[in-house]
């Protein structure tokens, strides 16, 4: 149906425009909102390509968890200005070269006969995703979860250290008052 073609390309355009505007915003919170919009648009594109489970995970995990943490940090940090992209900066060059290379690759893919047809997708349901994750990619899942556990333990160690530090400091501050 024509309508779904239209919705698909519209969501792709929204994702690209939002990601591009992200580079040029002045306030960090606006950047976060742009990124969130891009994530929602990506979710829609995933859904129309026949991956409903991945689409919803995109919404729940990226919009609902990761972006929320970003926003939390932005709110708690006193810094209210960003440093928008400036082309004079020398350290930017390696990144720019990589970006151009990737764009070239993408162009080669798109014009080299890759066909994306959102109307007749192969639908991959949540069961298929689960079977692959805990069958074929079991080792990778286990490795990532161990890594995350290590990160969690590390954060708890630092937090505890910080807490003790603050407790030691508090009585002095009260005396100073």
């Amino acid at each position: 149906m024509m309508l779904w073609h239209f919705v698909f390309w519209l969501s792709c355009a929204v994702a690209v425009v939002c990601s591009a505007s992200l580079l040029f915003v002045r306030k960090p919170m606006h950047g976060a909102v742009y990124l969130t919009t891009a994530m929602c648009a990506l979710a829609l594109a995933f859904y129309l390509l026949g991956a409903p489970f991945i689409a919803m995970m995109q919404l729940i995990l990226y919009v609902g968890a990761i972006m929320v943490l970003f926003v939390f940090v932005i709110m708690l940090s006193p810094l209210q200005e960003t440093f928008p992209l400036q082309l004079q900066d020398r350290s930017l060059w390696p990144g720019l070269i990589l970006l151009i290379l990737m764009l070239l690759e993408l162009g080669a893919l798109l014009f080299g006969g890759l066909q994306v047809d959102p109307t007749t997708p192969q639908i991959i349901d949540s069961k298929a995703v689960g079977e692959l994750l805990f069958g074929h990619y079991k080792l990778a899942v286990e490795a990532i979860s161990t890594l995350l556990l290590a990160a969690l333990v590390g954060v708890m160690y630092f937090a505890r250290h910080l807490q003790r530090h603050q407790e030691r400091k508090l009585p002095e501050q009260q005396e100073a008052k």
Binding site: A55, A65, F72
Partner: protein, 325 residues
């Protein structure tokens, strides 16, 4: 049906349902004020119309005719976006709820439950963008509290929902209701408790209404709003309560199941409404009887009791269904 007939009909149906839901939210506010009055041994609003029934409409007219005022120090775009986001996401969530046998917009949506979770996280964006864009101390504090509360309780809610998904084997709300010959509240009592407590926290109701704690934060995240935008926040909150009640009914209380509901779908709608109204009453009852918890109590309760209880519930459900079912 041809698409030329389908889309206009769907649009009309949506307009009717949205108007109905807004009216329902208005009357929930009225009902809350009357029931709170009853529980606190006073009258509540009883002057406008018989039993004060027209109070909801009087309030709506008052809010609509107020001046639209834009404070000079706000972040204009986000300030205007926030209330819209709050209302639209809740209204959209109702799309996947089946209110009777075969009566819904898209209850057979294959990832309906995940869709609701995704929309609820977007809903919270409305609340904290509203608070942040107002750029005053009280609203920002309310927003920070909202995010912390969301992170703690959304997880517990998702974990509790997994128990239902394990039993029914589907993310679609229609399938979940059809599978409930025994209502899941009997098979998943702990899951129900975790889900409902997390649901109260998600809708920012007492005892978890810290984002808008009146006696500490003026009015919390919506302090700088007035007139119509404030009304939209208000609407969003009450629609949220109605939605959590509908969802709890669908997932744990058997949805539209009840005597004669199989053969007459409209009777199913009646049972659904009855169960939802009972849960709504419970929300109001909680407001009248429970004091607000302290901030650190809220966090430690979420992480130390609710989440482990949910995890134990999943493991128990998985073991029992693997061994005996």
């Amino acid at each position: 049906m041809s698409p030329w007939l389908f889309w206009p009909l769907i649009t009309i149906a949506m307009v009717v349902v949205i108007l109905g839901l807004i009216l329902a939210a208005g009357f929930t506010v009225f009902g809350e004020r009357r029931i709170l009055g009853l529980l606190q041994n006073r009258y509540g609003p009883n002057q406008a119309g018989p039993f004060g029934l027209l109070q909801a409409i009087a309030d709506a007219v008052k809010l609509l005719t107020k001046e639209y005022f834009l404070p000079g120090f706000v972040d204009q775009k986000l300030y205007k976006l926030a209330p819209v986001l709050v209302v639209v996401t809740v209204l959209l969530s109702f799309v996947v709820v089946p209110i009777g046998k075969g009566i819904s917009f898209a209850a057979d949506f294959n990832v309906g439950l995940l869709f609701i979770l995704g929309l609820s996280s977007l809903h919270v964006y409305g609340i904290f963008l509203g608070g942040w864009s107002s750029s005053t101390k009280y609203t920002v504090l309310g927003s920070i509290r909202t995010i912390a509360q969301l992170i703690s309780y959304e997880l517990a809610m998702g974990v509790a929902l997994l128990g239902v998904v394990l039993l029914s084997g589907s993310f679609s709300l229609e399938d979940i209701v059809l599978k409930q010959d025994i209502a899941y509240i009997f098979l998943q009592p702990f899951g129900f408790i975790v889900f409902f407590i997390a649901g109260i926290a998600e809708t920012n109701r007492l005892p978890f209404d810290l984002p808008e704690a009146e006696n500490e934060l003026a009015a919390g995240f919506n302090t700088e709003y007035g007139g119509m935008p404030f009304a939209m926040f208000f609407l969003g909150e009450y629609l949220g309560i109605i939605f959590i009640s509908c969802l709890t009914t669908t997932l744990y209380l058997g949805g539209w199941h009840g005597p004669w509901a199989e053969s007459y779908p409209l009777v199913g709608v009646f049972w659904f409404a009855l169960k939802t109204l009972a849960l709504l009453f419970f929300f109001i009852w909680m407001r009248a009887s429970v004091p607000r918890v302290r901030w650190d109590q809220l966090m430690s309760f979420g992480w130390k009791y609710l989440l482990p209880l949910g995890l134990v519930n999943i493991i128990a459900t998985a073991l029992i269904s693997a061994l005996w079912m």
